[in-house]
């Protein structure tokens, strides 16, 4: 599958079909999921309507991690096989991933205000998501540091892989630190203990986020390929014009 898509031409053919499919899937599942989570699902007996933020917060957190995994895998492929499409893909995964991380932090903070009565708690999970946000930020800054696109992608892929190795370590150490400095907080909305009328909107939203991520990254990759192709063609036709006028 991946080796099939590694060819830019074949990828463009795939994207012409896959992009609208994922786009429509994202609209349908996000729309249906939003309706379910805002209207069609019950209130929490303790948290009231605030629980509805969970349907955005949890999929955002999961998608942020999924996007980073995709980013690190693409970086690995780009680093080892120097495949240009993997460079483009890695960069295309980074921006939605960072947006998911940001969304996760914002919704978590909005949820924390009525429930914990504070915008921010230095809870283990929140701290590690914040650090993930910084890693995304560092990745994007390194990727735009050098004008040469290939070199920039290579620098960025090295950083992405080092970050990927470090994420579990950071997560572990932050949780260690948290258990030392703070009493346990009420942050575990246990997913297995969720009743079906709450689990169903959550899963629909997860599907929607995943489809949106696929749509966004496929569009970016497609656009980047087309831009590079047209740049090459402009050079070619430009050369032809000068030859003709000579």
């Amino acid at each position: 599958m991946l080796t099939y898509l590694a060819n830019p031409e074949r990828f463009l053919r795939f994207a012409r079909i896959a992009r609208p499919v994922f786009g429509v899937l994202a609209i349908i599942s996000l729309g249906y999921g939003l309706w379910l989570s805002l209207i069609g699902s019950p209130e929490d007996y303790q948290q009231g309507d605030s629980v509805r933020l969970m349907y955005i917060h949890v999929p955002a957190a999961w998608s942020a991690l999924m996007a980073y995994t995709a980013l690190a895998s693409a970086s690995f492929v780009s680093f080892v096989w120097r495949h240009p499409l993997a460079d483009i893909a890695a960069k295309a995964f980074a921006v939605p991933g960072m947006a998911f991380t940001f969304l996760c932090l914002v919704t978590g903070s909005l949820w924390g205000k009525p429930i914990w009565n504070t915008w921010w708690q230095w809870d283990g999970r929140m701290t590690s998501v914040l650090i993930l946000f910084f890693i995304y930020l560092a990745y994007l800054s390194v990727g735009s540091l050098v004008a040469d696109r290939k070199k920039a992608a290579r620098y960025a892929s090295i950083l992405a892989m080092v970050g990927f190795i470090n994420i579990p370590i950071i997560k572990f150490s932050v949780e260690w630190w948290n258990s030392l400095h703070q009493p346990a907080t009420i942050s575990n909305i246990g997913a297995p203990g969720l009743p079906p009328e709450m689990l169903w909107p959550l899963l629909t939203m997860v599907l929607g986020f995943t489809a949106f991520f696929a749509w966004a990254s496929i569009s970016t990759i497609q656009r980047t390929i087309l831009i590079e192709k047209s740049a090459r063609q402009t050079v070619k036709s430009g050369a032809k014009i000068t030859l003709d006028t000579l």
């Binding site: 910084f134 800054s141 540091l145 370590i169 950071i170 932050v174």
Partner: protein, 218 residues
């Protein structure tokens, strides 16, 4: 590892007209500013002192990361030694050891003086120095990595942004190690974790730094 390169770095540092001391001066200034900001209450200060010393140490190290490769890169030394030796990893490891000797070790030796200012017991000073010593390889490795990745390009803030996520575990276990030293000694969990972080840091960041240097000469 190459002794000539390490020797060269040490000679350069010795002839730099006291450039290597800037880290210690920053370290002292940071601590002085912290004390002024926190108020001169010796009881609360000595409780905060280990964390402050760790912060001052990391900040001072973060400031010096930018200079690890940028000088050698701009004046062509790095390209020359790469052509001459051909082995990037050897150069990076030599740089790593030289950086520890010329920048982090002087800073490490300044810790007891800083700790005296806060009126810390010898136990706390010993715990602090051991924790920093065990964490130094990780700090230097990620510093070399960030320096190789940016090569003097971009602002200094970018180096801080690259390093900070990787240095947060060192900070967490480092400050925790000082807390448990008086009760549990050197063989407690935080020291082992710090040692592990240093090993992982060397294993991951040093090859990554040499890959970054290879990229910049492609």
């Amino acid at each position: 590892m190459n002794f000539d390169m390490i020797k060269r770095e040490i000679i350069l540092a010795a002839r730099s007209g006291g450039d290597w001391m800037m880290g210690i001066i920053f370290f002292a200034l940071f601590l002085a500013m912290s004390v002024i900001a926190l108020g001169n209450n010796s009881a609360s200060l000595s409780a905060l002192a280990p964390a402050l010393v760790w912060l001052a140490f990391l900040m001072s190290a973060l400031l010096s990361f930018g200079h690890i490769f940028s000088g050698d890169y701009t004046d062509g030394t790095l390209a020359q030694s790469l052509m001459f030796r051909g082995n990037v990893l050897e150069i990076v490891i030599s740089k790593f050891i030289a950086y520890i000797i010329t920048a982090l070790m002087p800073l490490w030796l300044a810790i007891p003086i800083a700790a005296l200012l806060f009126n810390l017991s010898t136990d706390v000073i010993a715990g602090l120095m051991l924790a920093v010593l065990i964490g130094i390889p990780a700090i230097a490795a990620y510093g070399i990595f960030a320096s190789a990745l940016t090569m003097g390009r971009g602002s200094g803030v970018l180096i801080v942004l690259i390093c900070t996520p990787f240095l947060i575990p060192v900070l967490i276990f480092g400050t925790n190690a000082v807390e448990v030293y008086t009760l549990q000694g050197l063989w407690s969990a935080p020291y082992k974790a710090l040692f592990g972080l240093s090993l992982i840091g060397c294993a991951v960041a040093i090859p990554a730094a040499s890959a970054a240097i290879k990229t910049s000469f492609e």
